[in-house]
Symmetry: D2
C-alpha cells in the first residue's frame, strides 16, 4: 500500500500519517518526489485497513500494490491444480465437457438427455434441481426430487453429476446427491454460501458473477479455499455489458488471464455466455483455443419445450457436432477430448 500526499501537504500532516501507520503496527517509508511525497507501508503480515488513511488531512489518495488473494494465486501455488471427480480430471491435459439441461424436469427427460450427451462425449452431466429465477412466478425447480432423478441418471450413465446449491442450509442435502456443487453467478458473492461449500467435501464449480471482476471471482474462490476446500473450478459465463444482441458478453480475455493469475482450473459456459444456441459452438471453440480446461453446455432433447433457457440449449445432435468441432481445436492445442 502506498499513500500519496497532496502537493501542499505540510510536514505536520506527513508526520501524522506516519504516526498512524506505525500505530497499525506497520512501518512507513517516505519517498519525496518533485511534486508529491509518497509513503510506502511495510506490513506486519496481518491484514489492516488502510483505506481510511485517505481521510487524513494532507492525503491525496492511497493505492494497493499487492493482489488481495493468496491461496488462489499462482504465486502462492505455482503448479496447476487438477480437480478429480470420479475418473474425470479437470485442469489436466484432457478437455472436459459437462452437458445437460438447465433444469431437471422429469426422470424421462433426464435419462434421455443423459444417455444422449454421454454418447456424444460428455464426461459429466448437469441439471438444476434448485433454480434461481428472476420472477417469483417462474418454475423454481423440483428440489430434492430433482436430485434423486440426477442420482438415478448417474447410475444409468456413470457420469458424475453437477448441480447448483442456492442456500447454506441445503449444502448437506445437495452434497449428499451431487458430485460437484455449483455456485451460480447470482450467488458468487453469497458469502455464507461460499463459507458452507468451503466446509463441504465436494468440489465446487464457481461461476463468475455477471458483473463481477476477475479479482472478485478470485476473492470468492479464496473464501472457499480459506475454509478448507481446495477443489474449486472457476467458470467464466459472460458478463453484463451495454451490448444487447447477446444475453451476456463472454469475457474471453478472462480465460488466459485466470490461467496466469491462478492455479485453479478454468472452464467456460457458452450457453449463458451468449444466450443464443447459434453462437454456442463457435464460442466453445474459442474458449478451448484461449486455454480453457472444459465447457459446461446446455443440452435439451426438446429445447422448444424446455421450462427455461431453451433458446440457448443445443439439441443432442448439435452437441455431438460441437464435440467434434471442439475436439479438432483441442488437438491443435496439444490436448485431448
Amino acid at each position: 500500500m502506498i499513500v500519496i500526499m497532496k502537493k501542499d501537504a505540510t510536514p505536520m500532516e506527513l508526520s501524522h500519517v506516519v504516526a498512524r501507520i506505525e500505530q497499525m503496527g506497520c512501518q512507513a517509508h517516505i519517498s519525496r518526489g518533485e511534486e508529491r511525497t509518497l509513503v510506502g507501508i511495510i506490513g506486519n503480515g496481518r491484514p489492516y485497513n488502510t483505506e481510511t488513511l485517505e481521510l487524513m488531512s494532507g492525503v491525496e489518495k492511497t493505492m494497493k500494490v499487492t493482489s488481495p488473494f493468496k491461496r488462489a494465486s499462482r504465486e502462492f501455488h505455482p503448479h496447476d491444480t487438477r480437480v478429480v471427480v470420479g475418473d474425470v480430471e479437470i485442469g489436466g491435459p484432457e478437455i472436459v465437457l459437462i452437458a445437460g439441461p438447465c433444469a431437471v424436469e422429469s426422470q424421462e427427460q433426464m435419462s434421455e438427455i443423459g444417455a444422449a450427451v454421454k454418447a456424444a462425449g460428455a464426461r459429466m452431466i448437469r441439471g438444476g434441481a434448485f433454480k434461481p429465477r428472476t420472477s417469483p412466478y417462474s418454475f423454481q425447480g423440483m428440489g430434492e426430487e430433482g436430485l434423486k432423478i440426477l442420482a438415478k441418471v448417474r447410475e444409468e450413465t456413470g457420469l458424475p453429476v453437477v448441480t447448483e446449491v442456492m442456500q447454506p442450509e441445503t449444502v448437506p442435502l445437495v452434497t449428499s446427491y451431487a458430485d460437484v456443487v455449483q455456485i451460480g453467478a447470482r450467488n458468487m458473492q453469497n458469502f455464507a454460501l461460499l463459507h458452507a461449500v468451503g466446509q463441504s467435501h465436494r468440489p465446487v464449480l464457481l461461476k463468475r458473477g455477471m458483473m463481477s471482476t476477475v479479482e472478485e471471482l478470485l476473492m470468492a474462490a479464496e473464501y472457499i479455499l480459506s475454509h478448507g476446500n481446495d477443489r474449486v473450478i472457476l467458470c467464466e459465463r459472460g458478463i453484463r455489458t451495454f451490448e444487447t444482441y447477446t444475453r451476456n458478453t463472454v469475457d474471453i480475455n478472462a480465460v488466459p488471464l485466470l490461467k496466469q493469475l491462478t492455479h485453479l482450473p478454468v472452464i467456460l459456459d457458452p450457453s449463458h455466455g451468449t444466450g443464443k444456441w447459434k453462437l454456442v459452438e463457435p464460442v466453445s471453440r474459442a474458449a478451448i483455443a484461449a486455454g480453457a480446461d472444459g465447457l459446461i453446455v446446455e443440452v435439451h432433447n426438446h429445447p422448444e419445450e424446455a421450462v427455461s433457457d431453451g433458446a440457448q440449449s443445443l439439441l443432442p445432435e448439435r452437441f455431438a457436432h460441437l464435440r467434434d468441432s471442439v475436439k479438432a481445436i483441442a488437438e491443435a492445442m496439444g490436448r485431448q477430448l
Copy 2:
C-alpha cells in the same frame, strides 16, 4: 408476447407456431405485414414459457409486451405505499434520514454515533452486525452481539434500527432485534432470502444490486410482496459502470423512474453510490430533488478508524450540515424534513 416470423417463413411454419401457442392454452392472432408476419399471443392468465418459440423453424424472434411485475406496479396499486416504522413514515410527505456506521464496532461507538445522528435529525439508525465482505480476511461483523448493541441504542435514542440480514436462517434472529431488515446489494437476487423476508413481519429495505436493472429490482420486490410482505422500501445505491473515479455510478434516473413504475417508497444511498464523502452531500440533495423519499447515509465518529467504508463516511457534524442542505431542497419540493 409477439412472435415475429422470418421474411421467408412458410405457411407450414406459421401454422406450427400457431399450433404450439394453442397447445400452451393461449390464442394466436396473426397480423400480416409488408415484410413479416407477426403472431400475437393472447394469454390464458397463467404464466407460460414463450422464449422457446424462438427455436421454432421460421421464427425470427419474440418480444415481450407487458412488464413482468404485478404487485409492485403502479398500474396494480395506483396510490403511494407508505411504510410505517414506529412513529416514522417512509413514502409520505416527510423526507426520512437513516444514518449510522457501516459496521457495528462496539457499544461505545454505536451509542456515541446514535446520539449524534439523532441530534442531527436522523429518524432511524443503521449499522451492520453481519457484514458481506469481498475478502474472507476482512472483518465479518459482530453477529448477535452487534444486534444487542443496536437494540441498546434504540432504547437510548428511541430511533428504530435498520440492519442487514444475509441468510434465510438468520431472518428470525435479525427480525427479533431489528425494526427494518436490509437486503444488501449482493443479495438482491438471493431468492431464498427474499422468500424468507417475504414471510417475516418486518419492513424490508431492499437495495438494488450493483449489476441489476430497474426491472430486476422490481422483480426482487415482487418476490417479497408475493410471499405476503408488502412493506418494502426500495433503495438505489449506485450501479457498476466503466467510470472508476467513483466507487459506483448513482443512477439518478432510477429515482423518478421507480416513482412512476411502482407505488413503493424509494430512498437513495449516497455513501455507497459515490464512495467518496465529499460527494455525499451534493448527491443527497440531488436524490431529494429527483423525488426520493429518504436517504441512508454512512456516519462515523472516527472515519479514519472505521473498520470499513471510512472513506465514504461522514463525521456527525458533516451529517448535520447535509441535513440542513437537504432540508432546503426538501422544502423547495414542498416536503418536510
Copy 3:
C-alpha cells in the same frame, strides 16, 4: 509515476530500471518494502512515456500518481471560470437554461420555439443544423440553411445560439453564425475537431462521450484549452450502461466531481441523459441540486412530429413548468434563475 518491482526481482533488474529512468532524463527514487521494491520517478517537467517500463524484466506494474490534465484542473486554476456569452454568464451565480429542438427543421418551427422558450426563461437557444445520425438513411440536418435560420431567431429573440459542429473544416462556417459551438458526445475524442475549436474564438460546449470517463472528458477539454481557447463549458449527458429502461444513465456523481476537479462550468443535458420526457424535469432538478451551472433541454412545439428525439422533447408549456420547478431548487441552493 511509480514502478512496482516483482517480488523476486533481482538487483540487476532493478538497476536496469533505474538506468532507463535516468535515460529518460528523470530521477529514480528507490523504496524497499517488506514484499516489494518500489521506484518513484521524479520528472523533468516534460512528458515522458513510462508505460513501457512495465515491459522490463523484473517489473510487476506501474502506477500513475498525478492526474494528466493541467490547464483544466482546479489545482492549476483555483477560481471558477465564468464563460460569458453576450449578456449571459455560465459558471457564475445564475443558473442558465439553454433550450430548443434537437434539429432545425424550418424557420417557422425555430421562430415559434424560440419565442416560446424565451418566454419560458431560456437564456440561449439550441438547435442542430448538422446532425450526427446513427443511420445514413436518417435526416442529416439542414446545413448552412439551418445556421441562417438560427441567426434569424437570434435576431428575433436576442438569445445567443448554441449549435453543433461536426468537422474541422466547417468550424469557420459554424462559428460565423453560432455564439457557442457544441462538440457532440460522439465527437468528444475527435481530436482534429477539438484542435480546430481550440483555435477558434467561440466558447465551446463540450459534451461527455457516452462511454467516456470523467478523466477523458477533462483531457478533451485540455485539448481545447491547450490550443488557446479557455472558454469551455462541460456537459454531462448520460453514459451508456447495462440499464435499458432509459436511453442513457445520467452520472449525477460527475457533477460535483467535476466541480471539485476543474474550474470550468458544468451543465447537464437531461433530455439525452434520460431519453424520456417524463424524467426530464426531475433529473433537471437533481442536476441543479448537485451543483450544475445550467441545463440544456430539448423543447419542441410538436414533439410528435419532430424529425428526431421527439420522445425526449418537452412541449414549451412543460418547459415552463420545469423552469419553475428548477427555480425553486436554484433558490434553495442560494442561486438565481
Copy 4:
C-alpha cells in the same frame, strides 16, 4: 414497427394513432389482445420516423421489428464478401495477419519491423502516421512523413499498407499512400469521415467503437456502403466494461454474430482488445476458432521504447510464435495461414 397501446387506451386514441400512421403514408394493422391492442405498421418503402408515436396519448411504447441495416446485411447479400488488396484476399479461406507498430516512429524502425513481420508471416503491414491520442501532450504521429515511410516499406517488403485516417480532408492524402484506410474506434461514428471514405476508392478497415453495439458497427458500415464503397472489413477490438484488469474486453461473441448478420469480413485486434502482450496470443487463437478472417496485431522491435502501446506490443519473435500457434487453429478450422 409495432405500436403497443396502453391497457386503458380509448377507441378515440386508437383511431388517432391509426390516422397518424396513414398520414405517414403507411398502413396500420390492428391486433386486439387480451390485455392490449397492438398496431402493426406496414411501411411504404421509405424511411419514416415512428418513435414520436410513443408520444401520442394512449400509446405505451413502440418496438422495432426489422434491423436498420440493409446493404451490410446477409439477408440482402447472402454470399461472403471478399476484400482483395494486392494479392491478399480477406474473407476467403485464408486467415490474414496484419502486423506492425502502433505508430510510425522512423524509417529504420519501420523497415526493421516490416522485414521481421513479413518473415514471420504477416500479409499486410500496419503503422499509424496520424495518431488519435487522449492527451494533447502525447505524440500525435509523424503525418505525411510517416505515410512516406510506410510507402517505402511497402516497396521493400511488397506488403500492402494499412494506416489510419482521422479527418475527412486528409482522406485524399492518406488514400494516395495507403492500400487500406483504417477508421479508428474513436471515429466509428464520425459520420463525415465515414462519408468521405465511402466515396474513396480504397478498402476500409472499420474498427468497432469501444462504446458501440454490434448494430451500431453495422450501421457505420452501412454509411460507407451507402456512399458507394463496398470494400469494408469489420474489426472487433474490445469494448469498454467494468473489468479493469484488461484494457478492454474482447467481445468474442461478436465474431460469430457478425459472421451471421453480415457478409463483410471480420477480423480481430487482440492488442487493443487486451492491452497486455501476454494475452495477445491466446486471444488471437480464440478469434480464429470463433471464425474470424484475420488478425491485426501490434508488433514492435523495441516495445520498451515504443512511443505508444508498448505494453501490448509483441516482439517479432513472439509474433512468429503467435503465427505458428494460430496456424494450428486455422488448420483445425479447415482454413490456411
